[in-house]
């Protein structure tokens, strides 16, 4: 019996090199440095580049979204390229594209929180903001796609003038519930997570800014009697957001999968859509965070480790998406249903073959480069792959909708589809709107979760001082990413 205790105090393992866990915050930054750097982003005047990006984006948003939709409302939904056959067309392609982008934000904020992935703390705020803005862009399309936007309230569960209720058995109504719930919960999650940081800004601000941030920080004072409830609330929101995010894109995929249209009627759709959404969303997070990190000097908080982890997730989900594409294709031919085979032949060899090829190469082939560590560390390569994935994911939805609907059961109804100028204008407008909102977010709100980043520092553990060094005799400590620390001179 005594031997057992003896053995536990003495460690006689093989003498292997031990990789040190790399630090989430580099260069041993203090609490005050973290506060100062993140609040500095919104307190100092914006760099010229911010204005160079903001002004064109705002103009594009105004022309594309405000102008395009005003024209649509005044002239009628016929200004879009939609036809009787391809009734979904670009608007629903764009809807699915944007709603998918949002999923990475919730994955980072909720699923990585539940799985105790502390590296999420540096990126979750911006990713959640991205979710909110992407869902706002997404919401525009179905609302206007109903034709008469002033009748969009028919989507809400209220009986119409004849006392007829909505069809609760329809995936389209499920979608209304899923997307609106998703938006509401994401907003609550984002805002609650921001309250302590808004209080930090309040306590540094003066005059009218202090009043405005004061109102939005709800009188937060960092009290531990508040933190205890707050942490439980955050955990609960993470716990309900996790199944929610998986349900949203599953339900979006039901819009397709529950129909009897060849090419859509497959059971693989829900997991395939969810993987694709996470894949596309992570690419978008990197697309906007890599430039932001440089512009605002946040390299010590959004480190190469964060980018590396996200690149790995892109590789994983991209490969899952590739598997789904191939499996869908295989089953179409293996299943032997002639309409299904015809649909896939049309996708591969019909007039829209190029979009299929682009989808395959952007989504499946381009992320494979992330198998190589050197490539994950080269930010130009990472950015290039992310841009490919952004485009590839749009083409995926284009392939699903536009290569399927022009040709279904009745040859008499076959009709080619091409988008109109207003289609393009509205879509480009939403890209402008997304970037405008994101730039405003960087300008006015803390882009990194200050409280959570502080929490990840070693000295935030109250037992930090009491911990004794466990001496693993003979083991050689090697700091991971040391080469990056060596290359990067500490910034003031």
């Amino acid at each position: 019996m005594a031997n057992a205790t003896d053995n536990s105090t003495k460690r006689n393992g093989p003498k292997l090199p031990v990789l040190e866990r790399e630090k989430l915050i580099l260069n041993g930054r203090s609490y005050h440095w973290i506060t100062d750097r993140i609040c500095g982003v919104i307190e100092k005047p914006q760099p010229a580049l911010w204005w160079f990006l903001f002004i064109p984006c705002a103009i594009i948003a105004a022309i594309g979204v405000v102008g395009g939709l005003s024209y649509l409302v005044s002239a009628g939904v016929g200004v879009w390229g939609n036809t009787n056959r391809t009734m979904w067309g670009w608007p629903i392609v764009n809807f699915v594209f944007w709603i998918g982008i949002g999923h990475a934000g919730t994955l980072i904020s909720a699923i990585l929180f539940l799985t105790r992935q502390n590296w999420r703390t540096s990126i979750n705020r911006a990713a959640e903001a991205m979710t909110i803005f992407a869902v706002m862009c997404a919401g525009i399309f179905p609302a206007f796609h109903v034709g008469r936007v002033w009748m969009a309230w028919y989507l809400a569960p209220i009986p119409n003038a004849n006392a007829i209720w909505q069809n609760f058995k329809s995936p389209l109504l499920w979608d209304v519930f899923a997307v609106s719930t998703y938006f509401t919960i994401s907003l609550i999650f984002w805002y609650l997570g921001m309250v302590p940081d808004l209080a930090t800004i309040r306590d540094r601000a003066k005059g009218i800014r202090k009043k405005i941030y004061g109102i939005f920080s709800l009188g937060w004072r960092g009290s531990n009697r508040h933190w205890t409830h707050y942490e439980v609330a955050y955990l609960l929101l993470a716990a309900i957001s996790t199944p929610l995010v998986l349900s949203v894109h599953s339900i979006v995929s039901f819009d397709f999968a529950t129909s009897v249209v060849p090419g859509w009627h497959t059971t693989i759709f829900p997991p395939y859509f969810v993987a694709g959404a996470i894949f596309g969303g992570f690419a978008m997070v990197l697309t906007i965070m890599i430039p932001a990190r440089f512009i605002y000097g946040l390299q010590d908080m959004i480190t190469m480790k964060h980018i590396d982890n996200m690149a790995k997730i892109i590789l994983l989900t991209g490969t899952i998406v590739g598997y789904a594409y191939l499996m869908e294709l295989f089953i179409a031919f293996y299943g032997g249903a002639k309409y299904e085979i015809a649909a896939f032949k049309y996708r591969l060899t019909g007039p829209y073959w190029l979009s299929y090829v682009l989808m395959m190469s952007f989504n499946v082939l381009s992320p494979q480069i992330f198998w190589f560590r050197k490539m994950r560390e080269n930010l130009w390569v990472v950015m290039a792959v992310c841009m490919c994935v952004n485009m590839g994911m749009w083409f995926e939805r284009y392939v699903i909708i536009v290569t399927t609907l022009p040709r279904t059961w009745l040859p008499g109804m076959w009709k080619a589809y091409s988008p109109s100028a207003v289609d393009v204008m509205t879509f480009v407008g939403t890209i402008g709107m997304f970037l405008t909102l994101f730039l405003l977010f960087l300008r006015f709100l803390p882009c990194i979760n200050i409280a959570e980043v502080k929490w990840t520092l070693d000295e935030s553990d109250p037992h930090h001082e009491d911990k004794e060094e466990i001496n693993d005799e003979g083991a050689v400590s090697e700091s991971a990413y040391q080469h990056e620390l060596d290359n990067q001179a500490p910034k003031a």
Partner: protein, 185 residues
């Protein structure tokens, strides 16, 4: 003519770091104070225990909220589609076997109402939002949301005695002691 009368809110003391705050909190708890609090810019692991606090009851609220959402969804979908106005679409049944088609709605409303209960339950339990607090009168307290670690013992506490409490806070390692007064017009 309003004369300002001041009421003592309590004593505020700063501590050097998270572990100092943790150790001090244990001592304040053991001294038997009840109306006091720790302040930090991030949640400190284990501090709840050091302060002798109970677990949050928020999950119970949220369970009730989620259940309400679920029942609302069942009622909304089942009553309107089956009981009041049986709607037959694509020859699908309008009876008890229709229930699986309502699962997504039940799920979403459960989540939605749970989320709202979390938000409003949390605000209720915290007693927020409020526009002001006596502690905001203290200049050093602004650092509670930056890099400061504070303990404040309220005058309302039965054990509070101005000089003794001040001495006690100093004894357990508190620095920059400050008497906080609540301004009342």
């Amino acid at each position: 003519m309003s004369t300002q009368t001041k009421q003592v809110y309590g004593y505020l003391a700063e501590f050097k770091n998270a572990s100092q705050l943790y150790k001090a909190a244990e001592k304040v708890r053991d001294a038997g104070f009840t109306k006091w609090d720790c302040y930090s810019s991030f949640p400190i692991h284990g501090l709840d225990k050091a302060m002798g606090m109970k677990k949050s009851i928020l999950p119970k609220f949220v369970f009730v909220g989620g259940l309400t959402g679920f029942c609302t969804a069942v009622t909304l979908a089942y009553v309107t589609q089956v009981a009041i106005y049986p709607t037959i679409v694509q020859a699908k049944p309008a009876n008890i076997f229709t229930l699986p088609a309502f699962f997504p709605i039940m799920f979403e409303l459960t989540i939605l109402l749970s989320g709202f209960t979390t938000l409003f339950g949390l605000l209720g339990l915290m007693g927020l939002p409020r526009l002001n607090h006596p502690l905001f009168e203290s200049e050093q307290f602004a650092r509670a949301t930056d890099d400061g670690f504070f303990i404040a013992i309220e005058a309302k506490d039965a054990k509070f005695k101005a000089q003794e409490t001040k001495g006690f806070l100093e004894e357990i390692g508190g620095q920059n002691l400050e008497l906080i007064e609540d301004k009342k017009n």
